[in-house]
């Protein structure tokens, strides 16, 4: 039990970066100086499967519990199919990036747009990130 209590803070504090997707747009360096701009939005979520597995290991001392195993199966069936990263409970967190990007560029001329879908994994939780880097033509 003590082992798990020691392990939990280590797992919670250690973050692993994950990159799922990157897309680079056209780059125009012919119209003037470029100023880097960036927008990053993220949504925290819980990795339910890992949490259930960890709970199972702690409560039943590694022997496995049928109830938790059933919950894991239900969760897996609910989340079947293609997906990127861990499921989040808010589908609008990346909605406003375009406006935020425009707000950083007075001239309105944006080039070299890099769309990055990445995440910070903290074992049982993760921050699902959408990052848009770009250059503003001054």
């Amino acid at each position: 039990m003590r082992k798990y209590l020691l392990l939990t803070p280590i797992l919670l504090l250690t973050a692993c970066a994950r990159m799922d997707h990157i897309q680079v747009g056209d780059i125009d360096q012919s119209q003037g100086k470029l100023k880097p701009i960036s927008v990053k939005v993220s949504e925290n979520t819980v990795n339910v499967d890992t949490t259930l597995a960890l709970t199972d290991a702690v409560l039943s001392n590694g022997s496995g519990s049928d109830e938790i195993e059933a919950l894991r199966t239900i969760w897996a069936l609910m989340n079947m199919g293609p997906r990127t990263g861990n499921p989040v409970f808010n589908d609008a967190y990346a909605q406003n990036v375009l406006n935020q990007l425009h707000a950083q560029c007075q001239s309105g001329k944006i080039t070299a747009i890099r769309s990055v879908r990445e995440a910070n994994d903290y074992a049982i939780a993760s921050g699902e990130i959408v990052r848009i880097d770009a250059d503003c033509i001054l």
Binding site: D20, I22, G25, R114
Partner: protein, 104 residues
């Protein structure tokens, strides 16, 4: 026995399987210009890493290849090569550099 193990270990270490994560492409103009390509990578042990900054280097390298010009038809490839316990994450970007007439 040890020799066999060493040979197996070397073979495992040197052989890598590539997984193509994502690809994307932008529009290609009629006057394409010259093809330029840049890439950046980083090595991670057991997928433990705290940053994705290496991808920005690929874009910076591509920009350096077309200073004062316009790069279009940008093809981005994100791939991961898996070696024994070690992974190479790589971003390869290429595009057509079209320079202004006075710079050609």
């Amino acid at each position: 026995m040890i020799r066999k193990f060493c040979l197996l270990f070397i073979a495992l270490t040197l052989s890598g399987c590539v997984g193509l994560n994502t690809v994307s492409m932008t529009q290609i103009p009629k006057d394409k210009g010259q093809l330029v390509e840049a890439n950046a990578h980083d090595w991670v042990f057991l997928n433990f890493t705290t940053q994705n900054d290496f991808a920005d280097r690929a874009v910076d390298n591509l920009k350096d290849l077309c200073v004062g010009g316009k790069i279009s038809g940008v093809f981005t490839k994100h791939q991961t090569t898996s070696y024994f316990l070690v992974f190479k994450r790589e971003v390869i970007v290429s595009g057509y550099c079209s320079l202004p007439k006075d710079r050609m």
